[in-house]
């Protein structure tokens, strides 16, 4: 039996060092990328398996993984429909497979690209970027470095595709840029890597939509996003996830706010996945820099969710917020362990964590454990948490107005999310409302 054949049948958790070397060579990557992959491999070999991560990745074979990378799914009608479910108009569609590609034949996309090019913005796929732009080497895998944790190590070892966005000094991109990642095959481990670098005074809204065109029997989403934000730059990231079928959502995200007076906002909007294990992180390293992590989610059926956002303050007068607003219904179970941590040097840091959960039904559960830590005595960090249920009185009141229970629940849930959704870019608001309606009313 040939070696290649053996490799193909192997699960992703059992790849050897040689397999990684071969994987990187197949992709014709520069040496430094391979080195990062191998560092991740070594880290995985030297640390014990994580019961929440490894068993899920183990189910994906190398064969399926590589096939989806080398024979990407073309934008089929189903994929387009899936993108539309995320609110992306077909003419804006620039996708697909597990990675990221730009459809240069598209008129709208062409115009956008021309505009960006004129401004000195680089907006291309990571596969291309690692070969063409030296600046990538300077930043890639510095935030999501291979020794951060096992999940990140798997991501670094197996990443493929994703966008690279570089915004030069002083350039403010007026319209949000948007990317869609679609898992279009069974058993696929989607591992796109998004790298964003904002130079001094730059501004960017990045919206990423992740979805599946059809209900999948099994898929893993192990995408990654890392970003670096310089002095007075502003970054807004909104990720909208709407999965169908058995999809295990375990992305890795880290934003390093390096500059003074800089701002970073990470918003995750999640409407469906079988399990979700997220731990987005912002590091505030610039004086007076600010960070916000928002999570807006509707969990249902038998979903198991663990979310652990972290904002780490490392510079004076930094401020941050973590907002978690979720609805848990059916038999879903949510565990929330957000943390604000003021490290030494974060003098005068301020922060607030707010967790509000609405529980629908008797079997859904939400366990919220917010944490606050500080090494600086003058840091002012606080949190509040509330878990509520939809009262019968409210359903009765809305029934008096002619709303049946499903409609009334939808109205209440919509209203619960409204104050947070209301602050998102208008495109995202429309998408989210559409997905919510689909999730709660089925139309």
């Amino acid at each position: 039996m040939s070696r290649a054949r053996l490799l193909e049948d192997r699960p992703l958790t059992e790849l050897s060092r040689d397999d990684i070397v071969e994987f990187s060579r197949r992709r014709k990557e520069p040496e430094w990328v391979l080195r990062r992959r191998l560092e991740a491999f070594e880290y995985l070999r030297s640390t014990p398996p994580d019961p929440k991560i490894d068993p899920l990745i183990e189910k994906v074979t190398y064969k399926v993984f590589i096939e989806s990378l080398e024979n990407p799914v073309l934008p089929t009608e189903e994929a387009i429909k899936a993108a539309e479910r995320l609110g992306v108009r077909p003419e804006e569609l620039e996708v697909l497979a597990s990675g990221f590609s730009i459809d240069v034949d598209n008129v709208v996309v062409k115009a956008v690209l021309k505009y960006l090019e004129k401004k000195g913005v680089i907006f291309t796929s990571m596969d291309e970027a690692v070969k063409r732009y030296p600046v990538v080497k300077e930043y890639a895998f510095r935030g999501l470095h291979p020794q951060l944790n096992r999940k990140t190590a798997y991501h670094v070892m197996l990443w493929a595709g994703g966008p690279f966005i570089y915004v030069p000094k002083g350039v403010k991109i007026p319209q949000p840029l948007q990317g869609v990642f679609i898992i279009g095959r069974e058993g696929l481990g989607q591992t796109e890597h998004t790298l964003i670098v904002l130079e001094e005074g730059a501004e960017l809204h990045w919206i990423e939509g992740c979805t599946t065109p059809i209900a999948l029997r099994y898929a893993v989403h192990l995408g990654g996003l890392e970003a670096f934000v310089k002095d007075s730059a502003k970054l807004y990231v909104a990720s909208i996830n709407n999965w169908l079928g058995e999809v295990h959502h375990m992305p890795v995200k880290r934003v390093v706010v390096e500059g003074d007076n800089a701002y970073a906002e990470l918003t995750a909007i999640a409407f469906y996945s079988t399990t979700s294990n997220t731990a987005p992180r912002i590091d505030l390293r610039g004086r007076k820099s600010r960070g916000v992590i928002q999570n807006i989610a509707l969990y249902r059926d038998k979903q198991r969710i663990h979310s652990a956002p972290l904002i780490r303050y490392e510079a004076p007068e930094t401020s941050a917020q973590i907002l978690n607003r979720t609805v848990v219904k059916d038999e879903a179970v949510e565990e929330f362990n957000g943390m604000l941590y003021a490290a030494r040097g974060a003098k005068g840091a301020t922060g607030f964590m707010s967790c509000n959960t609405l529980v629908i039904g008797d079997r859904a559960k939400s366990i919220t454990v917010p944490a606050i830590g500080t090494e600086e005595k003058d840091a002012e960090l606080s949190h509040e948490a509330s878990v509520g249920r939809i009262s019968y009185e409210k359903l009765y009141y809305l029934a008096l107005m002619g709303f049946e229970e499903d409609e009334a629940t939808w109205l209440i849930v919509n209203g619960f999310f409204e104050p947070v959704i209301n602050k998102l870019p208008i495109d995202v608001q429309i998408e989210v409302k559409k997905i919510l309606e689909l999730a709660l009313l089925g139309h």
Partner: protein
Amino acid sequence: MVRHRPLTWVCGVKVAVFSPCGEPLLTSVKYFFNKGSKQRLVVRGASKMTFEVQKVKVYTSDGKEVVKGVSLSLVKPGIYTIMGPNGAGKSSLVNAIMGHQSYRLEGRVLLGGEDITKLSTHEKARKGITLAIQMPLEIEGVRVAELLSRIIKRFQGVSKTDEALRIARELLHLVGLSDSIMSRYFMVGMSGGERKRLELARVLAQKPRVALLDEPDSGVDVESMPLVAKAIEKLREDGAIVVLITHQPRLFKHLEPDHVYVMYNGRIVAEGGLDLVQLIEDKGYTWIAHHNGGR
């Protein structure tokens, strides 16, 4: 006068107009030509609306009998007031009629002759009966404009949002609320008086055939009282049977009820016109109950 778009044409002559819940609404149809000589349909007079409560007893979830056999037969539009002291069973009666889960109702409730006793609350609402609750609840994150326009679209057969919003604004003006309230979350942070008036605007938006109003005047300041009265009057003008619960005669400075019932200890013990209100002011409920033999 009820004006509705015809939903069904038969042979180009006969027309059937239905309420949003599918009930025939017409007794007579007339055509006339307006300025542009385009044919328009004018519908005059709704079908004979009746609301009957037959031998209704209401029990709380712990089995306590709070309404001990009440019968009402309201056969024409008007304002029918039920007055009585706290604890007489007035709120229990109307909430039980609407199907609140805390009550068990025995007896029958008929709307236009149809037995609606067993229908769920939203089905009853869609049949054309609703209740203005005593303490309107906050619906966080849902704007007044959104909620009212949804209601107007459903109950008034309006399909365009602009038109629904225009109607909503008109209703708010009627109860003395300004346009700015449209963008506020429903009832959130509003004063007692604002809530009561918004609640009446909500009921008006449903164009009910039967409106049960549970103390729409409580917590309303003197200046707002005429506005509350105006909204109730509008319901009567629109051809609704209004069942108005109150225990304060002060509302009748602005509004004349068609009939007054006195409820005491779970029973209707007296009925009459405005003179009965005067008697309540003079003698009190207990006196009336005892001098009418606890009927």
